[in-house]
Symmetry: C2
Subunit: 325 residues, 2 copies
């Protein structure tokens, strides 16, 4: 546990089993981290029920922002952007400096939309990415995107390589991280049309923090970490892979001692700290999402990554500014 | 072991570590199956070395077709279609009824091309699929495509659903198999553009063998088998997922007792029995690929699947006949 008070805005209504698992996860997180404060964003009766379960001495570690409606599970951007949803209110709380970071297990699309509208995107980032950290043999592997941006465009993959390298340097403390592009073989030319187009783009892409592009890697390498510290892919493939690794650990009787597939991911590319939990999160997943958000805030990860990227911007000649079809 | 003599044409030069691992795998396969005969396709000195390692009584179980060159690891179709490569010669041996099935750990693209040219495609199939069988909690899960056809087109996914349902019925003995489309959530509308287009196509697609479409499934479900017996995806995503599950089992200290991720897959959609092994196959992977080919031939899987599909053809109104961009 790193020291330092941190205040996390928690979306009480996000997730398949909300609010029950969110309440249980919040209680776990408070029990594990004495310097953690929570801003509970959701129906006041749910928040009051949580407060009632705390020891009196801990009750001043919890504040409540009453909001009635969860973000809808919908693909409609106008609905997603509703300012009165719990996740939008959680983002607003951070903008008002009433909290340091946002955690939600609700719709990823709604959380990304609320974060983009509330925090704004970093320069050059059109599509924020969700980055998941897998504990591999040789150290952590950052896999991105795992669901923020679903289509595989070369410029997006190149931008995500930059974001992932900066993330690995700042949050995993890696010097000269190895960056790979996920494909179906390691020889140049392996992959679908999107990967064949992205590989030469990544060869040319300047990377921050002394990172270097190692070329194509495979699904196996994401689990084991053998070839790369940062693995870049589209959010569709990354999400499928992450859940497949999770299923394999379930089949194998549990994850290795180094840890299993994460069920929380950090949003990269917006000017605020946001953690998205698996929609099917259990209470310990919510607690680990809150712990990740606290860790990122204590490391000052978002401003540190932003500074790393600003150092690169003079040399970067590729930005993720394609027009959406 | 099912009874019945079977003759497998083995590509001695296919695979990253060929011919050594192919020779070792062939020896293993011969030792495990007394009714197995092999036609070794490759350099005669390699084949002769293998024969010299056999007991004299077993030497008449092996024949040799001398071929000098492996198929090139290239994306150039003209090069892939070279008739004098080992994999093309193995296909030709089956066409001449000198063997019953082909096994190669060489370039998937070269094997698919050789099989399409030599055996021809089934009616309505433009893009053959590789199907891998994962041992899940509730029985085997057929995952396709795992590398035959890399782009996600709705008509291809619909045709592969038909092929996978017929394969599960014939080779896994499943009655009314459940067919799912791999995506990033189970609610309708989840996924990238290709999945959102394919889901309604699959709802309308008549399936053989009493199969029914259960909608969207996730990576987790492929490992555990919880939602579907047949999982349809594009060959890029399927290949990444399969190798990710394999990596997770390696990390977890080994696969579950029910078995790990397969390292051999059957080619579906051509009028012949073809098994493709992982390019990084070890000797036991090659042996299990030979065993799979023998099993498929003994089950008369290819003619049986073809008959199942012929029964459907009066009602099918979607065929995989899109034009390649």
């Amino acid at each position: 546990m790193e020291p330092g008070t941190v205040r996390i805005a928690v979306d009480l209504l996000g997730g398949d089993d909300a609010p029950a698992v969110v309440v249980d996860g919040a209680l776990r997180a408070l029990g594990a981290d004495p310097d953690l404060f929570l801003l509970l964003v959701g129906p006041p009766e749910v928040a009051d029920g949580l407060v009632a379960m705390l020891r009196p001495a801990d009750r001043d570690r919890v504040a409540v922002r009453p909001v009635r409606d969860a973000a809808a599970m919908t693909a409609d951007p106008a609905t997603l952007a509703r300012a009165d949803s719990t996740v939008s209110a959680a983002v607003a709380a951070v903008c008002e400096e009433a909290a340091d970071a946002v955690v939600s297990a609700g719709s990823t699309a709604a959380t990304v939309t609320a974060a983009v509208l509330g925090f704004g995107r970093w320069p050059g980032v059109r599509r924020p990415a969700l980055v998941a950290t897998l504990p591999a043999l040789t150290g952590p592997v950052a896999l991105l995107d795992v669901g923020g941006s679903l289509e595989a465009r070369p410029a997006t993959l190149a931008r995500h390589a930059v974001l992932g390298a900066a993330y690995a340097a700042v949050t995993h403390g890696l010097v000269r991280p190895r960056v790979g592009l996920l494909s179906i073989g390691t020889e140049p030319g392996k992959g679908d049309r999107a990967r064949r187009a992205a590989d030469p783009t990544l060869v040319e892409q300047p990377l921050p923090a002394g990172a270097h592009y190692v070329g194509l890697v495979e699904g196996y390498d994401v689990a084991t970490g053998a070839r790369a510290d940062v693995v870049v892919t589209d959010g569709f493939t990354g999400n499928v892979l992450l859940k497949g690794i999770e299923g394999a650990y379930a089949m194998a009787g549990g994850p290795p001692a180094s840890g299993g597939a994460p069920r929380a991911a950090a949003l990269l590319g917006v000017a605020g700290t946001v953690v998205v939990c698996h929609g099917a999160a259990r209470d310990d997943d919510v607690a680990s999402g809150i712990a990740l958000a606290a860790h990122l805030h204590r490391r000052r990860a978002v401003p540190a990554i932003s500074a790393v990227l600003a150092g690169l911007n003079g040399t970067s000649h590729i930005t993720d500014t394609e027009v959406t079809a």
